[in-house]
């Protein structure tokens, strides 16, 4: 198999995985909106797997592009097309899928950041109620720490 054909195969597999990722991001978006943390965690774990697979394919792609063009960052347009035209088809698939994945990824990122902020706020509340704001009395009993008061205001 020629290097171009191998590259086309790698691009095809990347397109498959990005389509999988798109489906996963839709699931994750629904889970985040529903507040289903278990489902979100499950999606994150599957995302992690996909990312690892994509990273391996990215390494393979860069190796093949370097091998074909002599430059690691060369554009795919510079790679000779295969006899069967598989490289062009793979590129076309990616050009269709990636923008959608990009948009979806940003939406999920926004939702995830908001969920993490909620997580932070909850932790702050627990800290305030049961954690760092507690003090010990001279007798050893645990008591709620008083807020600082200056000029009658907390």
């Amino acid at each position: 198999m020629s290097a171009s054909a191998s590259l086309a195969e790698v691009l095809d597999r990347e397109a498959d995985l990005y389509e999988d990722l798109l489906r996963l991001l839709h699931e994750e978006e629904a889970a985040l909106i529903a507040g289903n943390t278990r489902a979100v965690g499950d999606c994150l774990a599957r995302t992690e797997t996909l990312v690892l697979q994509l990273r391996l394919l990215e390494n393979s792609r860069e190796t093949l592009v370097t091998q074909i063009t002599g430059r690691r960052k060369a554009r795919l347009a510079e790679v000779p097309e295969t006899a069967a035209g598989s490289l062009g088809r793979a590129r076309a698939r990616l050009e269709t899928t990636l923008p959608t994945v990009d948009v979806m990824n940003r939406r999920v990122t926004a939702l995830l950041q908001r969920a993490l902020r909620l997580f932070d706020t909850t932790l702050d509340l627990i800290r305030d109620a049961a954690g760092l704001n507690h003090q010990y009395t001279a007798a050893g009993a645990l008591t709620r720490g008083a807020h600082s008061v200056i000029d009658g205001r907390a």
């Binding site: 774990a45 990636l98 627990i126 049961a130």
Partner: protein, 562 residues
């Protein structure tokens, strides 16, 4: 390829483990105030490494199990302390009631009534012919008898309440044991569940509080429970053996059995109640026996003096208040509440104007003489007749116009048979002022009849003085205590029992508090600690979430070369 998949799965495994740990922390925090909840931890273990061309790669962590942080040793110690505390508390509650009833800190109703009785005897001695003094004596006598009976009634009710409570607690033991057996069955059917294990511990704790138990957790997760100090199993796997209680609400002893075997010295609340219900040393039977002895002693002493005296008027016929089931039985085997001794009984007859008619004496030998033969001997005296009616001795003047009077009775036959007594009844439960005297206070024997021409002297108060003197005479406890001293000693004993139980309770409470503190340290939820764990897992969560941004950069990179 399998190595590659393992490598890819590393992140997912780690994320799952972190999520489980976070959920566990959340559960711990949510149950910080749940009684009996044991802190849990996720056991994280390193997942096996994989060998790839580039070297050996770790594959993250995975959650091996969720375990409860609980120490069997501390549990066992805590249960031992708890069952002893409940044992002492059960006693202490009843003894506090007794103390308020009879102890030095109580209302002293009985002591006041006793003083009122002997004060009234003194008043009668001062005014033997005063009808008001006689009526007041009847009132004070009845007040004393009422106070004694009410005290005895309270003690009976305490016995009955203790018996009822034992029954309720025994039922709770059996239902708790059945619930534990059900959990054992569920445990055998599935994998160990921390919630079920907590429930197991709570149920075993409760059984310990109730009856005192030792528990053993088997390798299959089931709990075997035996009654502490015995080998008697209450729960073994899915099987239970019932605890039973036998006895009567009052009187007798209460017996606890497991599978037909009697528990000798049960602990826990049931053990404490059973001890109070059964102990003749420092329990309710001891208090009842002491009160009965006190009442019997006062009845005997007062009646002994009263029976040999004479009132302002005399009765033509006198009937004893004590009946015997078999009048043909010798007096010392007839089941009398007190046994007559060998001695002489003196009886006189007077006419309606109080003039002496005749007298005689009967030698009494309780080992050979029955009630029937005593009646025959009395009936043989001049101008006197006697019979046994309904098991009771009836002594009459043969001439209906004449009257009967009693002289000294060294045989105590009159007291034993309840003839011419001030009190009727034989113990704290039955003491009453004679209904005859209540109806006719003039029959109260303040005087002593002379069995000669001088008859009954006007203003004779010799018997009333003797009755009043009983208040300061040591005739109780084998002749070592006055009535007041006997009541004081009784109250002091109860006060000592109550203080002793209270001290034991305080000590056990301190021991239990220490064990609780240890248990809390081991199993309790420390919110600060949980918070720290939560932050730790939050960071893991955030790190994993950063894969999302990695996707962004990869897309950007790919779009750049398309």
């Amino acid at each position: 390829m399998s190595g590659l998949f393992q490598l890819i799965g590393a992140g997912a495994r780690s994320m799952g483990a972190a999520q489980l740990a976070q959920a566990t922390v959340g559960n711990n925090a949510a149950n910080a105030s749940t009684p009996g909840y044991s802190r849990r931890r996720v056991n994280l273990v390193e997942a096996p490494s994989v060998k790839l061309a580039g070297g050996v790669f770790g594959t993250g962590v995975s959650a091996a199990s969720v375990v409860r942080l609980r120490s069997a040793f501390i549990d066992s110690q805590r249960r031992a302390d708890s069952q002893e505390l409940n044992y002492s508390q059960a006693q202490s509650r009843l003894l506090d009631q007794l103390d308020s009833l009879l102890g030095p800190t109580g209302d002293n109703g009985l002591g006041n009534a006793l003083n009122g009785l002997f004060g009234a005897f003194g008043d009668l001695a001062s005014h033997p012919e005063d009808a008001a003094a006689r009526q007041a004596l009847v009132g004070q006598g009845q007040g004393f008898a009422d106070a004694v009976r009410q005290t005895r009634d309270r003690l009976d009710r305490m016995e009955s309440d203790a018996f009822d409570t034992i029954g309720i607690r025994v039922a709770e033991v059996n239902s708790t044991a059945q619930r534990l057996a059900e959990i054992n069955r569920q445990t055998l059917a599935g994998s160990p569940d921390p919630s079920l294990q907590d429930e197991q511990d709570r149920l075993v704790d409760r059984l310990g509080e109730l009856i005192g138990v030792r528990a053993t957790t088997r390798s299959d997760g089931t709990v075997q429970v035996v009654v502490d100090g015995t080998g008697l199993q209450l729960v073994d796997g899915a099987q239970t053996t019932a605890l039973s209680v036998t006895g009567t609400p009052t009187g007798g002893t209460v017996s606890l059995t497991v599978g037909g075997t009697t528990l000798v010295n049960p602990r826990g609340e049931i053990g404490g109640l059973a001890h109070m219900r059964n102990s003749s040393v420092d329990g309710l039977p001891a208090a009842i026996n002491t009160l009965d002895s006190f009442a019997s002693g006062v009845i005997a002493a007062v009646n002994r003096v009263h029976a040999s005296g004479s009132g302002l008027t005399l009765a033509q016929s006198v009937t004893g208040s004590v009946s015997v089931a078999n009048p043909a039985a010798t007096l010392n085997s007839a089941g009398l509440w007190m046994t007559p001794t060998s001695g002489t009984l003196n009886i006189g007859v007077f006419d309606a104007s109080g003039n002496f008619v005749s007298s005689g004496s009967v030698a009494v030998d309780p080992s050979t003489m029955s009630l029937n033969s005593l009646a025959t001997a009395i009936g043989a005296l001049p101008n006197t007749s006697a019979s046994v009616v309904g098991g009771r001795l009836v002594i009459s003047a043969t001439n209906p116009a004449n009257r009967i009077a009693f002289g000294p009775d060294s045989s105590d036959s009159l007291v034993a048979l309840g003839v011419n007594g001030f009190f009727t009844g034989t113990d704290a439960a039955s003491i009453q002022v004679s209904s005859t005297l209540q109806a006719t206070p003039d029959l109260i024997a303040a005087a002593r009849a002379n069995f000669n021409a001088s008859g009954i002297g006007a203003g004779d108060n010799r018997n009333a003085i003797a009755l009043a003197a009983l208040g300061t005479t040591r005739f109780l406890a084998g002749g070592t205590q006055t009535p007041d001293e006997a009541l004081g000693a009784f109250g002091a004993d109860i006060g000592t029992w109550a203080r002793s139980a209270s001290t034991r309770t305080s000590t056990q409470q301190a021991l239990l508090d220490a064990a609780d503190a240890q248990l809390q340290q081991e199993s309790g939820v420390n919110l600060d600690e949980e918070l720290a764990d939560m932050v730790k897992y939050q960071h893991a969560y955030e790190a994993s979430a950063k894969y999302i941004s990695t996707v962004n950069s990869m897309i950007d990179s790919l779009m750049g070369i398309l």
